[in-house]
């Protein structure tokens, strides 16, 4: 199988690491070769973060480069736009419809772009998920990233059971039920 390239982008603290690890385990359990590349350290302090997951028969490079991503999972609108040029022309964008102002916007040195969702839709196949509202409605706002993951599931080639199994094995035991509920909500969108 040709290598599938997935990027997860967001703001430090939004759970890109957990998401990439779920995707990595999923691919490994399905018998693929997998590589994940993460960002630790300084970039995690509220900065723009990106992690890469690549799986297939044999994976060499651990990163996804410009124009190579099959799926872009974005936890924040501006971050989806920042990395849009990494997505293949026929690739898919799954974006959490949330706005978080970078410090340059807060201090008035820059503006938060208008119409991001429209731009994304005009350039790539795009799915918009209001994950925070969904996560809040099930009483678990922190699981918003799993809602987004659920929404992205149909863009990848795993069965629903495979997803559920890996989520169970990855998230903290106390949060399994809420995370499965969050996944289900995203999956059914």
């Amino acid at each position: 199988m040709a290598t599938t390239n997935i990027m997860i982008v967001g703001v430090g603290g939004q759970g890109t690491l957990l998401t990439s690890r779920i995707l990595g385990k999923l691919a490994l359990a399905a018998g693929y070769d997998v590589k994940i590349s993460e960002v630790h350290g300084m970039s995690q302090r509220g900065g723009s973060v990106v992690t890469y997951v690549r799986y297939g028969d044999k994976v060499a490079e651990p990163i996804v480069e410009e124009g190579q991503a099959d799926v872009l999972i974005a936890f924040e609108r501006l971050e989806a736009l920042r990395y849009l040029h990494f997505v293949k022309k026929d690739g898919t964008v799954i974006v959490n419809d949330q706005r978080m102002d970078p410090i340059s916007v807060v201090t008035g040195q820059a503006t938060y772009p208008e119409g991001i969702i429209e731009t994304l839709k005009s350039r790539r196949k795009t799915m918009v998920v209001d994950a925070m509202s969904i996560a809040k409605s099930i009483g678990s706002p922190k699981s918003f990233n799993v809602v987004v993951l659920g929404a992205s599931a149909k863009s990848m080639d795993y069965t629903k059971d495979q997803w559920i199994e890996v989520i169970k094995n990855t998230v903290p035991p106390k949060t399994i039920d809420k995370n499965l509920e969050a996944f289900e909500a995203g999956y059914n969108l």
Partner: protein, 585 residues
Amino acid sequence: MAESKMMLGNEAIARGAYEAGVKVSAAYPGTPSTEISENLVQYDEIYAEWSPNEKVAVEVASGASISGVRSMACMKHVGLNVASDPLYTMSYIGVKGGMVLVVADDPGMYSSQNEQDTRMIGRASMVPVLEPSDSTEAKEYMKYAFDLSEKYDTPMILRTTTRLAHSQGPVEFEERVEPIDIPYERDIAKHVMMPAMAIKRHLVVEDRLNRMADDAADMKLPSGVALNRVEYGDNKIGFITCGIAYQYIKEVMPEASVLKLGLVNPLPLSLIKEFAGKVDRLIIFEELEPVIEEQVKALGIKCEGKELFTRQGEYSANMLREKVLGLKLDIEEAEKVAPRPPILCPGCPHRSVYSVLNKLKIHAAGDIGCYTLGAVAPLSVVDTTICMGSSISSLHGMEKAKGKDYIRSWVAVIGDSTFLHTGVNSLMNMVYNKATGMVIILDNSTTGMTGHQDHAATGKTLKGEPTYAINLYNLCKSMGIEHVYEVNAFDIVALEETIRREQDRDEVSVIITKSPCVLLKGQVFPDKCVPIPEKCKKCGACLRPGCPALTRNEDGTISIDDTMCNACGLCMQLCKFEAIKKEAK
């Protein structure tokens, strides 16, 4: 089939150390090396510690090695500078039990102040260097490094880079091999480096490197694979490469001939000559410095390298597509959107201290940690950052250069962990050399930037055991500094008063600002700050410190994100109109 698990390069290195029978490990945290020690904690067979700095860590490992056990030390690239002193001489002494330094370089400077190449230090210190190219190799090379260390009687360096350290790949587990206990032997000709002994040892070191270079072509990993591997394919282009760069070649040109070096110091010269003779065009593909390229050229072999590829940052597959295959890549331009650099967290105590320094128009000689972020707008307090511990000593230098009145508008700012790393020496120097100046120790009870590691003043070891906590106040007092003050980092009134008072003093003073890092585990934040729009005069005073939880509304009032706010109360203290209150979440 053996158990296989997704592992970070750093986790794989820890696993390799375990399987190799390591008994002692010492380290100081530093991205991207930190997770190695954090992963060693799970192995009861290994004594693992956080040392106050890398020099101490390498000396701990050296003692363990001389006593006959396998030992290791881990650090980031700049940490090896701190540890250079023991490194260069341990090269002469050699080992009893195998000894490996894991050193993580940071091409692209994701979390570092420079982009130095550890292979150069390996050459300068005449210490052999291995470099793996994925997690599987990271584990295997780590184990093999101990075999080489003992066989050639030398400390070894295992060099990694950020991309390798923080990438995950499947790793298979093997059993731990308990090494045979090596009895201690007194041997002053080898273990005491006085000139008469060192003169003889220098010859041994040179001979050792020559022998390793000669043997390198035949070195085989425990799995039977050659350490320096030739993969012949199409002979039109041949690459010599190492580390993560190898993966980019396999991605783009799997059919090309490749000499993949696992031993990057010394180089297997005979193998290189043979390989060069079999390919039409020889390209050296190595991140950072032209370490391999210059040695290949010194052999009189024609090759290309840095004329095609940069010395800066990380390499990529696209780089090969463009520079070697000559492809014109169809890549859209990146959207020009507002940058999102890292910032201090909501509720960070550093923000509070910096807001006071900013108000008083004080310049800070900075140091290495999250608080380096105080250099950028809107806080704009930190003027200099060189290396660990440099804040205090560079402030001292400024005072000696321009006089005590000049530095009344300056302070040194340094974190608790960094102070214990190398700041203590600098403070001693200020006292000894009759300096004037204010040092602020930003005590957040942890090593913050690298992800919350304990240190000598937290009362807990790397293994999580309770221990004696060094008291920073008493430590400063014991140096003879009369004016040492502890102030709550969020009490901006007391902070301002203390700083104003100490500015006029003609001796050294230390202010320890205290409040734990908001990300430290086990803390609860039951409250949140809430704006009262009716009272708001839209002056923007609350927004000045740049807390990410606050945003200005279109009408000039503010909103506070209740999922981000930890109710530190800084914005509330800055509001003169009582337009922000605390409420239970």
